[in-house]
């Protein structure tokens, strides 16, 4: 199954490399949103809870773009029929799609987090960076699992572009809560009241629940 998933994942990455559809759009979108926040909040520098909130909300909104596109190539070009005809485990398709989304998110963060540090963040970005990376990676796993699931769910609907954000954003509220709460002390220098363990545990629980649920129900989304 891992081999099959790897093959599908490689195909997706190759398409992304040639068309450059998702990742550049996400990166551009996140930088634009930072500019919007600069004017919307009328601040030149952010710190503490405001900085954490802006960063996490931007990343979550950028995720919507990738989730919108994740199954579209398959659907538009009829590649999904090939996938369904192939004698492979459906879970492999989920693993590949979630893996692709995970990689897109990591690439997005490689652009968006430094851009945030330069454009908006008041305090130094380097000191809290290791903790921030841990949080981002944990959150990306959850975002990728939920994103792949919602993408498969919405791709068959008539109003796909509407369904994806409406469905995805409420499901991502726990990620926003945990991410913002855990990042806030990192950006305010107030390490005393830091409850990092609690939020890491919450992100881990979220990842686990949605990975298991996704693997359990994904077969039914590709059954024709």
């Amino acid at each position: 199954m891992i081999g099959t998933a790897w093959t599908i994942l490689r195909k997706d990455l190759q398409i992304e490399l040639r068309t450059k559809e998702s990742v550049p759009a996400m990166a551009l979108f996140s930088v634009t949103v930072f500019v919007l926040f600069h004017f919307g909040l009328q601040r030149n520098e952010l710190e503490g809870d405001l900085a954490a909130g802006v960063l996490w909300v931007t990343l979550i909104l950028a995720t919507v773009l990738a989730v919108n596109r994740l199954f579209v190539t398959e659907r538009e070009q009829g590649g999904i029929d090939g996938l369904l005809l192939a004698p492979i485990d459906r879970t492999a398709v989920f693993v590949a799609k979630a893996g692709a989304l995970f990689l897109y998110l990591v690439l997005l963060e490689l652009v968006a987090v430094p851009a945030f540090g330069i454009l908006l963040l008041g305090p130094d970005l380097f000191k809290p960076l290791p903790t921030l990376i841990l949080l981002l990676v944990l959150a990306d796993v959850g975002l990728a699992a939920v994103g792949a699931l919602v993408s498969a769910l919405a791709v068959e609907t008539r109003a796909r572009d509407l369904i994806v954000p409406l469905l995805l954003l409420p499901l991502l509220v726990p990620v926003a809560i945990a991410g913002a709460e855990a990042t806030e002390p990192l950006f305010s220098g107030n390490q005393a009241a830091h409850e990092l363990g609690k939020w890491v545990a919450l992100l881990g629980l979220y990842d686990m629940v949605f990975l298991l649920v996704s693997i359990a129900v994904f077969d039914f989304l590709l059954e024709d």
């Binding site: 769910l153 068959e156 609907t157 008539r158 369904i163 809560i177 989304l221």
Partner: protein, 252 residues
């Protein structure tokens, strides 16, 4: 077949709810802190509990549908979620009234139950747009069941997340577990929960019965039409084009 037991069920629901209201107004003591407005607690909290259980039951019925492929489970799941969405509006409204009366604001962000409830409500509001923007009836049922399962798993997770995010600075006058309620209040509360649960079950059953009846009616009408057309054709009249719509429960 769905209508069986509907009458005793509705009588029981009405009796229990009546008793609950009687207890609320004549038996339960006035809250020392909040006074009369606290009585909305006996409507709001049972309603919220029943709504949440309805959402989770919708998920469980979704699992049953996916395992058995039996369309009636899909219908049950749909009706349960649909009904819970309607009741959720009532929960949010009563919650806002209570918040305004006791804390002076229509909306209080540091009340974790209220906030979790709003998020869950927003998520379930997508159920119908998702369901009805899929045309293929088989796929519609399948996708709706998947949504019901995902969202059902999300309900407890979301409660944990929102509750963790609160600093517990707000005094919790009445915890829903009934930890600090005097006996008379607790009894009233339990009767209210029971009454609300019976009301929910009655409405659910009623809706199922009516949905089922309209499906059967549609099927019978279609058959009647076909038979009339056949009769006309046999009588030598020019036959109108025969409708080829299959009689499926999806056309309801």
């Amino acid at each position: 077949m769905y209508g069986k037991g509907l009458r005793p069920l509705s009588i029981a629901a009405a009796a229990t709810l009546g008793t609950a209201l009687g207890l609320v107004f004549f038996y339960a003591p006035l809250d020392a802190d909040q006074g009369f407005i606290q009585k909305i607690f006996y409507i709001h909290v049972p309603l919220a509990i029943v709504t949440l259980f309805g959402f989770i039951a919708g998920g469980v019925m979704g699992i049953k549908y996916l395992r058995s492929g039996d369309r009636s489970w899909d219908m049950r799941s749909y009706v349960a979620i649909h009904l819970s969405i309607v009741l959720a509006v009532a929960v949010l409204i009563t919650g806002a009234i209570w918040a305004k009366a006791s804390w002076g604001h229509w909306w209080v962000w540091d009340e974790p139950t209220l906030v979790s409830f709003l998020i869950i409500f927003l998520l379930y509001c997508c159920y119908q747009p998702l369901r009805f923007s899929i045309e293929d009836p088989d796929r519609q049922a399948r996708y709706a069941a998947v949504f019901a399962i995902i969202a059902g798993a999300f309900v407890p997770l979301n409660f944990v997340a929102v509750r963790l995010a609160q600093s517990f600075s707000h005094p919790r006058v009445l915890s829903t577990t009934g930890g600090n309620m005097p006996g008379s209040m607790r009894l009233t509360f339990y009767v209210s929960v029971l009454g609300m649960a019976l009301l929910y079950t009655t409405l659910w059953k009623l809706e199922l019965t009516s949905k089922n009846a309209s499906i059967q009616l549609k099927r019978l009408r279609l058959r009647l039409e076909l038979e009339q057309e056949e009769g006309q054709a046999r009588a030598g009249a020019p036959a109108p084009p025969v409708s080829t719509v299959p009689a499926s429960p999806r056309n309801a």
